[in-house]
């Protein structure tokens, strides 16, 4: 017992010392907090009605995932610009935890709750049913237009346009490699690491391929799937497999650094996604397309502050500033910037459509009609005619914001479709 008493007294003494330190520390933070609140107050005075809006964000991972980092940056930027209060919940899995996180944010007084991952959707809908006065916004989801909930909204962007532009950069690079004698014309094979055989991925690699082929007509593509949105090892292995297979340029739709680093190691040029990988891959990075979510966040904050309804399906475009390309990397070919600018201009003018049916064939035939599965159901019922005016109307705001292009066009071969 004596020994225990000794230990206890030692612990007690240590605790007291700690609490002393803690106290002194506390005053320090208080001071900091005071100055911080002063700063926000002055900031708030300049701001208008938006400042009493509170936004809650739910992220699948944290800033270590390029996908979530892109959302986190957009959210911070938009909230600071609007001068509104915000709360972040990171590492929320796609399950009941998402529902609980959404409810906790609503309980904490958030007027808007936003979730960033596809699998969050069903749980956001459950929360939206429970809190009719709170606006629930969900990126990449597919169900808002069929759920009939006035406070549940989907959002996406015409990222296929960004992919197409990035594809042009890839095609220019292939042309340069041909001109330099590094490869011959029949070796212009592109590799693509995808996550799932999901429409969003299919739409992404098809538009990227069409962009590349628009400048390098001999281009072909091979696609492999990892069966996960974030699996660094699988993405790296997938990239290595494609490189061994003779792919001379890579791109990916998966969230880790797996594919870009594999490319850097092998010296294969890479078009990345969700943000620049120039610092980690200085020799092989060409360009990256990404969705900038700040315009959407600014839009929903403004809508709630001014009592306006939020679109059920909001589609960001090049013009809204939602679809952006990063700065070109050192590996980009000469003249890339001009070619991209030209195509972008044509897109904005409406003269260039990414999925122009004259530029691709399916099983050797040009498409004249296609029923897509726009309304999500367990039987994948094809329900909506999406070929209009000679092009596939992807992410039409009248249909739904999330992509539904799921055709397998000629020139692209899928290596594995297990996922």
């Amino acid at each position: 017992m004596k020994k225990i008493k000794k230990v206890l007294s030692a612990v007690l003494a240590a605790t007291m010392v700690m609490s002393l330190v803690a106290c002194s520390n506390e005053t320090g933070t208080e001071k900091e907090a005071e100055t911080a609140s002063e700063a926000t107050e002055t900031e708030g005075a300049e701001q208008t009605a938006a400042s009493d809006v509170k936004v809650g964000f739910i992220f699948l991972h944290d800033e270590n995932s390029t996908y979530d980092l892109n959302f986190i940056n957009g959210a911070t930027e938009a909230c600071k610009a609007a001068g509104v209060e915000y709360m972040f919940k990171t590492n929320i899995p796609e399950g009941q935890e998402c529902y609980e996180a959404a409810c906790e944010l609503a309980d904490a007084g958030c007027d808007i709750v936003f979730a960033d991952s596809f699998g969050h959707e069903d749980y956001m809908i459950e929360a939206a049913k429970e809190y009719p006065e709170v606006q629930f916004c969900h990126a990449t989801g597919t169900k808002a237009h069929t759920e009939n909930l006035s406070n549940y909204h989907n959002a996406f962007a015409t990222i296929y346009e960004g992919r197409y532009l990035a594809g042009i950069a890839a095609g220019m690079k292939l042309n340069e490699m041909i001109a330099n004698g590094e490869i011959t014309e029949d070796q212009t094979k592109i590799g693509y690491v995808g996550a799932y055989t999901y429409a969003e991925v299919i739409s992404g690699y098809t538009s990227f391929f069409l962009g590349a082929r628009s400048v390098c007509p001999s281009a072909t593509m091979e696609v492999t799937f990892t069966g996960s949105w974030y699996d660094e090892t699988a993405e790296k292995e997938g990239a290595n497999k494609l490189i061994e297979d003779g792919c001379v340029l890579l791109s990916q739709h998966a969230d880790s650094m797996g594919a870009p680093t594999a490319c850097e190691k092998a010296g294969v040029p890479d078009v990345s996604y969700n943000g620049s990988t120039a610092s980690a891959c200085p020799n092989t990075f060409i360009v990256s397309s990404r969705i900038d979510w700040a315009p959407y966040f600014a839009y929903i904050i403004d809508s709630v502050a001014n009592g306006k309804a939020i679109d059920t399906d909001w589609v960001g475009t090049l013009e809204t500033g939602s679809v952006v390309l990063t700065d070109l990397g050192d590996a980009a070919a000469e003249g890339t910037a001009d070619a991209i600018a030209e195509a972008e201009k044509a897109m904005n003018a409406g003269t260039l459509h990414v999925f122009d049916t004259t530029t691709f064939t399916v099983n050797g035939e040009t498409l004249t009609s296609y029923m897509a599965d726009v309304d999500t159901d367990a039987d994948y019922t094809a329900d909506t005619e999406v070929i209009t005016d000679g092009y596939f109307a992807e992410s039409g705001s009248e249909f739904r914001s999330a992509p539904y292009f799921d055709l397998q066009i000629d020139g692209i071969s899928l290596l594995d479709t297990a996922y």
Binding site: I4, V7, L8, V11, A14, T15, M18, S19, V21, A22, N25, E26, T29, D62, E63, N64, M87, F88, K89, T90, N91, P93, E94, G95, Q96, E100, C103, E104, D107, F118, G119, E121, D122, Y123, I125, E126, T142, A195, Y196, T197, Y198, A199, V201, I202, G227, S228, D373, T376, D377, A378, Y380, D406, A418, Y419
Partner: protein, 366 residues
Amino acid sequence: MEQKVKEPRYHIVKRADISGKEAWIIRVVAILSALLLCAIITMVCTGDNPISIFATIFKGAFGTQRKTWITLQYVAVLLIISLALTPAFKMQFWNVGGEGQVLMGGLAAATCMITLADKLPNAVVILLMIVTSILAGAIWGVIPALFKAMWNTNETLSTLMMNYIATQLVAYFTIVWEVPKGSGKIGIINQNSNVGWLPNVGNKYLLSIIVATVVTIGMMIYLKYTKHGYEIEVVGESQNTARYVGISVEKVIIRTMLLSGAICGLAGLLLVGGINHTITTTISDGQGFTGVMVSWLAKFNPIAMIFTSLLIIFMGRGASEISTAFELNQSFADILTGIILFFIIGCEFFIRYKIVVRKDLGKENA
């Protein structure tokens, strides 16, 4: 003189017997020192005030009414899984296959929800879910037990490997039933018709808590007051003794693993039918393994397990609240949880052994 130098300054002695009071003092000291170390690390790494960090941990678990309910629900599920593993551990059968047994129970429930939704009335679907998920868990548990009973295979390996089979089965059916196509996700099953959703009792959190209470009491009675419970204890102490007194060891192993798997299946049913309404490969979230820790820390005592599972859930939820409130990385929360668990598990050493310091140490040096 030389002899005295060779004598170590301290040595470790196994405690013959330790009073309950003494053991609890050691545990409290361990928790306090864990918190102290957490506080130091927090201050060194972040400069944040440790007191407010601890307040945040508490708020994360019990800050609002909803948070309290969620915490209790999590405790309930972890408790059920831990209770399921307990009889197996008590007879020294190392069932580390709780994860797989939970998944199989969940998969069975999800299968009923998906395939029978428009064919049978809701009540029948729920009844079938209960029967099939308990059965599925029991079958997954009894396969390694049969192997053990018949061929004396190593159950640690076989139960562990059954986990992987279960995970891959769930992964396979996720792709079969994915919505929309290619997404790799099933999503909430029967979101609008709610067929196969276990009914709300009072509120949506209470059902699991009630089930956990029933299972806790049942398991306590089963282990302490029934012939089966006694047989499990004898087999655990010594299989030869068991054989000598006429207990069929094989029978006890098979019977106990049927029960262990069945209760895991029940946990799977609650996770799929009552809480998540979907099935994913990660739905049991490692609780098949955490349950091992809960069960061991509580020394296989069902009542004590309430507290150990509460402690682990409390820490986990508190830690994730820290990462929200202080905008710290989730890894920081994991560090704190790791420290606390290390101390809690480590203090068991000091309960079983004591360190005896050489008595004449100070005098000799002086």
